[in-house]
């Protein structure tokens, strides 16, 4: 047999061309007419469920509403977070107003109760009360220097000075407030006068005040007030009625612990003084008497310091510190006072967008590496499949 010529070879190849069975061709035509519905392929059990599912031809039609729902959910969560952030507790405000008062009100260091023995006495003492046997109490100390402290203390500490744990329900609480009023420049003077009247009507004290006249934005006033704590609510209501309230913050701090500990130290000091007085009565020699007197003087000074600290604490509980400002002109920041307006809306929108951006950033920080790993895995798999496909024919 002769070797085939090119045209013969091509003709032979074309004659050898495989042709599909008519039955297969008909079945394929049917599937083509039906849009190639997915079928379960034998030998591929892992994908059996997925292959039999009716997948949409255009998954974007599902992805778009799903994405919309996800975005709405994110916005709702963001709004809730913003709403929670916009309502800080009263203790947060106190921290803003006077962050260091708690520390400054702490009682002085504990006295050296044993240090007085054997010291030399050098004179008398002028700060002692008339009766050395008088036992000081929180209530009696609070009455010193304040006109109505005993009645004004919010949750006054009992004079018996029981242990702290037994008196937790009777708290010494310090109140403070900050009020900003908005006024026309011409009303600043009149508003200031009204503030004085309100303070006096509520038995309060104007610690300091300053008023400034001028154009809108420049004119204003500033008051530091002490208001009896039991009249604080009424006083704030009256102050708020003077003019438009721009901001109003109230805060509380529990000072029960330092109050009780100082009172206990004061009681110990008094007991020590009583003991020294007894020793003094029994002293037989001049030297012994002088030593006891010296120790007595030191202990009395210590008691005076404790009494001052306790008075200060009682004062803080009895009187509330109020910072009142009158501002003129446009408010510098959006606040909760007054009607909700465009500025507030813009501020809220900014907050929502900020939180939404933060949430998105966190989501990206979480999803980014996962997506990157998935992308790398997909690229690796694709490269591996390509290499295997090349290898299968080589």
């Amino acid at each position: 047999m002769e070797p085939p010529r090119d045209d013969q070879l091509i003709a032979d190849l074309q004659a050898l061309r495989p042709t599909p069975r008519p039955q297969f061709a008909a079945e394929l035509d049917e599937r083509a007419a039906a849009g190639f519905p997915r079928r379960w392929r034998k030998g591929v059990p892992a994908f059996s469920f997925a292959m039999r599912m009716k997948w949409p031809e255009r998954p974007l039609r599902l992805l778009v509403p799903a994405g919309g729902v996800a975005v709405i959910a994110i916005l709702l969560v963001s709004s809730l977070i913003v709403a929670n952030q916009g309502n800080p507790g009263p203790h947060d405000n106190l921290a803003l107003l006077e962050p260091s008062r708690e520390q400054s009100a702490m009682p002085p260091a504990a006295p050296d109760k044993a240090g007085g023995a054997g010291r030399t006495a050098t004179g008398g003492e002028a700060t002692e009360p008339q009766s050395e046997s008088e036992v000081p109490t929180v209530a009696s100390e609070a009455s010193i220097g304040t006109s109505n402290a005993g009645a004004a203390v919010s949750g006054t500490v009992a004079p018996e000075l029981e242990p702290f744990t037994e008196k937790v329900h009777r708290r010494a609480v310090e109140h403070s407030a900050e009020v900003v009023l908005a006024a026309d420049p011409g009303d600043v003077g009149e508003d200031s006068s009204t503030i004085f009247e309100v303070v006096h009507a509520h038995d309060g004290i104007v610690m300091s005040s300053s008023t400034r006249e001028g154009k809108p934005g420049q004119a204003g006033a500033r008051f530091e007030l002490l208001i009896p704590s039991d009249k604080l609510s009424d006083a704030l209501a009256a102050l708020s009625a003077i003019d438009e309230v721009r901001t109003r913050h109230e805060a509380t701090t529990d000072i029960t612990a330092p109050t009780i500990s100082t009172a206990e130290l004061l009681r110990d000091s008094q007991a020590r003084i009583d003991s020294l007085l007894t020793q003094l009565e029994g002293a037989e020699t001049e030297g012994e008497r002088e030593a006891v007197e010296a120790e007595l003087r030191q202990e009395r000074r210590h008691r005076a310091r404790l009494r001052g600290s306790l008075q200060h604490l009682e004062h803080r509980a009895s009187f509330s510190r109020v910072l009142l400002r009158i501002e003129t002109g446009v408010a510098h920041e959006s606040s909760g006072g007054g009607a909700w307006g465009i500025d507030d809306a813009l501020g809220d929108a900014g907050n929502v967008l900020t939180v939404a951006a933060a949430v998105t950033l966190v989501a990206l920080a979480v999803l980014g590496p996962i997506a990157l790993i998935a992308l790398l895995a997909w690229l690796t798999h694709r490269a591996w499949v390509r290499r295997e496909r090349r290898r299968v024919l080589s």
């Binding site: 070879l9 074309q14 061709a25 599937r31 083509a32 496909r389």
Partner: protein, 200 residues
């Protein structure tokens, strides 16, 4: 169907959904909803013109008629799913379709863990008997020579003479240049002729 016609029909469908159509329009739109889109029609044309060619190529590559049927069906199914992603600027539809078929065939070979070997029925020679003994012998020799070729060479011949692809389409399917495809095809034919000589 032209895009503007389809767009007009889509607009009518929206009008129908919003209750702004008359009864006649509703009938027309209902019919239009059933009308195939342009991509479907184009794919239908591609299917009808390439069905037997794809099968011939896959069968020539796999040498297994049963597997060839499976792979051919799978290839058309994959192509149908991806029909909206086809970009005419990146190549001709037939080259795109044969690329999908090639991947499906290679995946099948990979899955079965073997190379393109004759495992089932050899070429059906019953139709050749009537054409004479000389033809029979020669075609048997060509078939035997085909089996001795490397799978890569056999694929080239299948693409060219079984599927009827042009050299540029072959180049597109294989991801090589057209001149490279021509050179490789020439070498494959030369080897096939030499193999036929050896058989003869």
């Amino acid at each position: 169907m032209a895009p503007e016609v389809q767009q007009a029909l889509d607009t009518r469908v929206m009008d129908l959904d919003s209750g702004r159509s008359t009864g006649m329009e509703q009938t027309l739109v209902a019919e239009a909803k059933e009308a195939p889109r342009e991509t479907d029609l184009a794919f239908d044309r591609l299917y009808r013109s390439s069905r037997d060619d794809v099968y011939a190529y896959v069968a020539g590559l796999l040498r297994d008629p049963t597997a060839a049927e499976e792979v051919t069906a799978a290839a058309f199914e994959r192509a149908y799913r991806k029909r909206n992603r086809f970009d005419p600027q990146r190549g001709e539809p037939r080259a795109w379709l044969f690329g999908i078929a090639r991947n499906a065939a290679l995946d099948e070979l990979r899955r079965r863990g073997r190379q393109a070997e004759m495992s089932a029925e050899p070429t059906d020679l019953s139709s050749l008997r009537a054409e004479g003994a000389e033809h029979d012998e020669r075609r048997l020799a060509v078939s035997a020579a085909l089996e001795r070729l490397q799978p890569v060479e056999r694929e080239l011949i299948a693409l060219k003479f079984f599927a009827g692809l042009e050299n540029r389409e072959i180049a597109r399917v294989l991801g090589i240049s057209e001149s490279n495809a021509g050179t490789k095809l020439h070498r494959a034919m030369t080897k096939l002729r030499e193999a036929c000589d050896g058989t003869a």
